[in-house]
């Protein structure tokens, strides 16, 4: 099968590479770009471990064709940290036990990141809804809510300090 030469914009950087038409975005990220942060948890588009942001909306990298994402902005978990330091949500997930084994965490980082971009002060219900497309098998989600709330508080405090 002939490969296509494509350019993807990942975490603010353009990368050019040869890609088979049937390659998923997840495989392109993990195998070609060596960005292994996005995880593969299932084969039926149902777990959310591969969630990335496409033009600001969370989507499943395992269910997108890489070549079809040309021209779109792709954000992966590797792009969440700010200036080499943990973003508030990353720090909070660590402190509040939001990540145990951590395999689902990249997907949640993206889901929460998008939520807070679109709605900086979500209600408990909105947080729960925003997380409901990602499966976690370790935490029972409870501590994640605390982490998200802590991150929101930290962000607010940070903004006040500015």
């Amino acid at each position: 099968m002939k490969k296509l030469l494509i350019t993807l914009n990942v975490n603010g950087r353009d990368v050019e590479f040869a890609c088979a038409p049937n390659q998923t975005l997840l495989d392109a990220l993990r195998l070609d770009l060596r960005l292994t942060g996005s995880k593969r948890g299932c084969d039926d588009s149902s777990c959310g471990a591969c969630t990335v942001e496409i033009d600001g909306e969370p989507m499943l990298a395992c269910t997108l064709l890489a070549a079809a994402c040309e021209g779109q902005r792709i954000l992966t978990v590797e792009g969440i940290a700010e200036h080499g330091a943990l973003a508030a949500i990353q720090k909070a997930y660590g402190e509040w036990g939001g990540a145990q084994c951590g395999f689902c965490t990249p997907g949640f980082m993206i889901a929460v990141h998008s939520l807070l971009e679109q709605n900086p002060d979500p209600s408990e219900e909105e947080i729960r809804a925003a997380l409901s497309g990602n499966l976690c098998r370790c935490t029972g989600y409870n501590q994640m809510y605390q982490a998200v709330k802590a991150a929101i508080e930290a962000e607010k405090a940070g903004r006040r300090a500015l």
Binding site: E95, G97, C101, G102, C138
Partner: protein, 864 residues
């Protein structure tokens, strides 16, 4: 001042940044130059003899490097020494749909998948056994010739005098309980990367390194050595980050062996990562279980006797089966309540389904569901509050139970009191409107099995600590962190013991070349056993440092206090140590010196100038190196002989140096028109001895209660004649955030005399109680007793309708009455219509019973 400076405080897991940034590496994230991809061909038949395998068409495909088959590595292995019944790839027979037949190694996943289609396997189908009670009657076509009636193992235990016990009872309750099969569904699918190194002496493939998503690196090393016929010393197993295990990675999973065999055949590094479907086929989860339970109680709520017959549908291989069936008996009868007379008949049965093994709450969960639900019924019969009946049957520790379990610390009474209080039990129970209810249940679990799988007197855990003149503490531990936070636990214990900050400690874990043996992350043993080994190693180092510091301080080692990166003479500064201002100044200064690995004049001068009565941590370390030469320490842990159990057949499983305890109250509401159960909240009090890291303990407790909730309401493997109808995360329903309730964790600290700083397990003990707590709450809400789990809406509605004689009779729950289940429910539909289905079906025992011998030859043809 707080008794401790590091433990008891919530800290982020030491590896959490790697997880939240995506930088942390799990096995499938690894790759190496020249690495090939392996894909496994699985059996389409539940039971068949392999007549021949022809891989030539696959090998002819461009990009295919090798095809491994059973004959390439025929040695048998199994996690238990008594259960060596697996081979890397099937040698003569396949025993379940999904059994491993061949492994294709190719340059890419896509090529390997294509090649799988080109491996030609000829099978001769055999009659298959799907229902354990059917299977137990088998005379022919056994799964394993050495197991008559397809019974892997049976045990018959009687403790006390069960008959007399039942005679004393005022009321005896009997019932059959059925728990359907559930699986770990860890988010990370299993993955293994195996690579051989060229031996410089022989020039041929020599040492093997295996990176694998495992909870038990040392068992993997051991089994690899058996199958590959290599000395263990030539095999290195490294555990990268593991994306959850829950028992599913606590034994050697076929791909781990197959990857190594494939790497040997392909002469190149090979990585195999399971698809999600393959994870379901590899399974090793909680077997579907029949529990025939009988409990006798007196009018004043005392349990006089318990008798249980337990049948576990173990699937095609032994796996942990013998242990599972023993745990079920040991923990049903012992260490939770006072049960004076106890009879247990346990059967572990082989069937043509994927093997079951260990899963969180190993062995206890399904029997605990039955028992706690029945106890609730008993309380109702004698008109006693469910909390009260549990209080009436508490143990009086320290004690040894009738089945030989030694119980020391026992926080159950407090757990019960705390959940009752937090949930408003006495004010609210029985007073909620119809449709809403409260239920209570208790559970417990071992803090590590007192006897290892391979019985010996060797330590179960050993830990080494190295400190060099940089003042950095490196802990080498075999403990396998699978997300539960054991690396953090080890770091905390080392830091607390050595009186240094957590950031100073680096943990090197689970690498058989670097770290001393720890038998693995299972049976909730790590905090207790590896924690104790770490404690001892750290104490050994601390002694050396204290000795040297004492010399400098003209004091005695006992008078040297080490805390918060400071070392001081108790005689001079008392408990609190030097003032806080001084302290920061010293640390800042020492930080600079620390950076230069100078062990020369500068530091020595400083040391001399420094007031004699206090030092920084690194000054003390340097002093110790000066004094002793090398600085390092080891510690190990083996459970005490008194905790290792009784002397009957099967007594080795169940004993533990300490037990964790849990009491839970669930609040539910039931929609009587739809049968939908909503869990509003669960209060879970867990006695973990001491919470070394409260946030981690809460996470473990909440996680296990939540997993119990999944088994209670949503999760079940749905079978049709050995075919798994829901091998994926879409149809196997692990709860989503949308319906996962709030779980309030209440930590109870009984401070175990033998646990590290008093700690016991926290990750498993709470799972089991969730299921009966919900069952009992459903009863409280709407008056039905469900004896089949999970309590899916159809089952709940079926039971509700059965209560109302005027309701229209509809078989809402299929052929099994969830209030009185007799047998397992299978998915509807048909696999074998008109003989046109797969050949195995006319041979199914069920079908054979109806139709007399068919045309055997035709069946064989059909199978091809």
């Amino acid at each position: 001042m707080n008794e401790f400076s590091v433990i008891g405080k919530p800290v982020a897991l030491v590896d959490s940044a790697g997880k939240t940034t995506g930088q942390g590496k799990y096995t499938d994230d690894l790759s190496m130059p020249g690495m090939l991809i392996g894909k496994i061909l699985h059996s389409p038949l539940p039971h068949a003899r392999i007549v021949g395998i022809d891989a030539s068409r696959a090998l002819a495909l461009d990009g295919v490097v090798a095809v491994a088959v059973g004959a390439d590595a025929p040695n048998k292995y199994g996690i238990l020494p008594v259960g060596h019944d697996e081979t890397a790839l099937a040698v003569d027979k396949v025993r379940y749909v999904g059994d491993n037949v061949a492994c294709v190694v190719a340059e890419s996943e896509a090529i390997a998948e294509k090649a799988l289609e080109l491996v030609d396997v000829r099978y001769e189908p055999l009659p298959a056994w799907f229902d354990p009670e059917d299977s137990m009657r088998a005379e022919t076509d056994l799964l394993h010739e050495q197991r008559p009636h397809n019974i892997e193992k049976e045990y018959h235990h009687a403790f006390g005098d069960p008959a007399a016990g039942f005679a004393q009872a005022d009321t005896v309750i009997e019932g059959r309980y059925i728990a359907n099969e559930v699986t770990h569904a860890a988010m990370e699918p299993h993955s293994t990367l195996a690579a051989f190194e060229i031996d410089p002496q022989t020039g041929r493939p020599g040492r093997l390194t295996v990176w694998s998503s495992t909870q038990v690196p040392y068992y993997l090393q051991h089994k690899l050595s058996i199958v590959l016929e290599m000395p263990m010393s030539q095999i290195r197993v490294i555990k990268p980050l593991v994306g959850g295990g829950f028992g599913g990675k606590s034994e050697v999973i076929p791909l781990e062996i197959i990857a190594a065999v494939a790497a040997r055949e392909a002469r190149a590094p090979v990585k195999i990562t399971y698809t999600r479907e393959e994870v379901f086929w590899a399974h090793r989860g909680r077997p579907r279980t029949i529990v025939d339970l009988k409990t006798g109680v007196t009018r004043d709520g005392k349990i006089t006797a318990v008798a249980a017959k337990v049948i576990q549908d173990g699937g095609a291989y032994c796996s942990y089966g013998v242990v599972t069936i023993l745990y079920a008996g040991a923990l049903l009868g012992g260490a939770l309540y006072q049960i004076p007379n106890f009879q247990y008949d346990g059967y572990r049965v082989l069937t043509n389904k994927p093997a079951c093994g260990a899963m969180r709450g190993h062995g206890t969960v399904n029997v605990r569901f039955a028992f706690e639900a029945q106890l609730d019924e008993a309380a109702q019969r004698i008109g006693m509050d469910p909390v009260e009946i549990r209080r009436r049957n508490l143990l009086v520790p320290p004690c040894v139970t009738v089945n030989g379990l030694r119980v020391g610390s026992y926080g159950l009474p407090e757990c019960i009191a705390r959940v009752a209080e937090r949930s408003g039990w006495s004010e609210r129970k029985g007073k909620l409107p119809r449709g809403r209810g409260l239920g209570i249940a208790c559970s417990h679990y071992v803090s590590g099995a007192a006897n290892s799988i391979i019985r010996s007197d060797m330590p179960h855990s050993t830990v080494n600590i190295k400190i060099d003149r940089d003042g950095g503490v490196v802990v080498y531990t075999g403990a396998s962190d699978i997300g539960q936070g054991s690396d953090t636990m080890v770091a905390q214990i080392a830091a607390e013991t050595l009186g240094c900050s957590l950031g100073r400690v680096r943990v090197v874990a689970a690498d058989t070349d670097l770290t001393p043996i720890d038998i693995g992350s299972y049976s909730s043993r790590v905090t207790f056993m590896n924690g104790n080994a770490t404690l001892r190693a750290a104490q050994a180092v601390k002694r050396q440092i204290a000795e040297a510091a004492a010399k400098r301080m003209n004091s005695t080692p006992e008078d040297v206090i080490m805390r918060g990166d400071r070392v001081w003479n108790h005689g001079a500064y008392g408990d609190e140590g030097p003032g806080a201002v001084e302290e920061t100044a010293t640390i800042a200064a020492s930080g600079r010196v620390e950076g230069q690995i100078l062990r020369g004049s500068v530091q020595q001068k400083r040391a001399e100038e420094c007031p004699k009565d206090r030092m920084t941590f690194e000054e003390a370390v340097v002093a110790a190196i000066d004094f002793h030469g090398a600085l390092g320490g080891s510690g190990s842990y083996a459970p005490p002989v008194e905790a290792r159990g009784g002397h009957y057949k099967g007594s080795g499983v169940g004993p533990s140096p300490a037990y964790s305890y849990s009491a839970q109250v669930a609040e539910v509401s039931v929609d009587e028109e739809t049968g939908v159960v909503t869990v509003h909240k669960i209060w879970a009090a867990h006695d973990c001895g001491r919470a070394l890291n409260p946030v981690a303990v809460e996470g473990q407790v909440i996680g296990s209660v939540w997993m119990g909730l999944g088994q209670a309401l949503e999760e079940e493997l749905v079978w049709k004649d050995g075919l798994l109808m829901n091998p994926g995360l879409l149809e196997y329903r692990s709860p989503s955030a949308a319906e996962s309730p709030e779980i309030e964790c209440i930590i109870v600290e009984s401070v175990d005399p033998e646990g590290p700083f008093g700690a016991k397990e926290a990750s498993e003990g709470s799972l089991a109680a969730a299921i009966p707590a919900i069952a009992n709450a459903i009863h409280d809400a709407v008056g039905i007793r469900l004896r089949e789990a999970p309590f899916t809406p159809e089952r709940v509605l079926a039971a509700l309708r059965a209560q109302r004689p005027e309701a229209k009779k509809v078989r809402l729950a299929g052929n099994v009455d969830p209030a009185r289940p007799a047998t397992f429910r299978e998915h509807g539909g048909s696999l074998c219509h008109g003989g046109r289905g797969p050949a195995r079906h006319p041979l199914d025992p069920a079908v054979r019973r109806k139709s007399a011998a068919g045309s055997a030859s035709k069946r064989e043809d059909d199978a091809r």
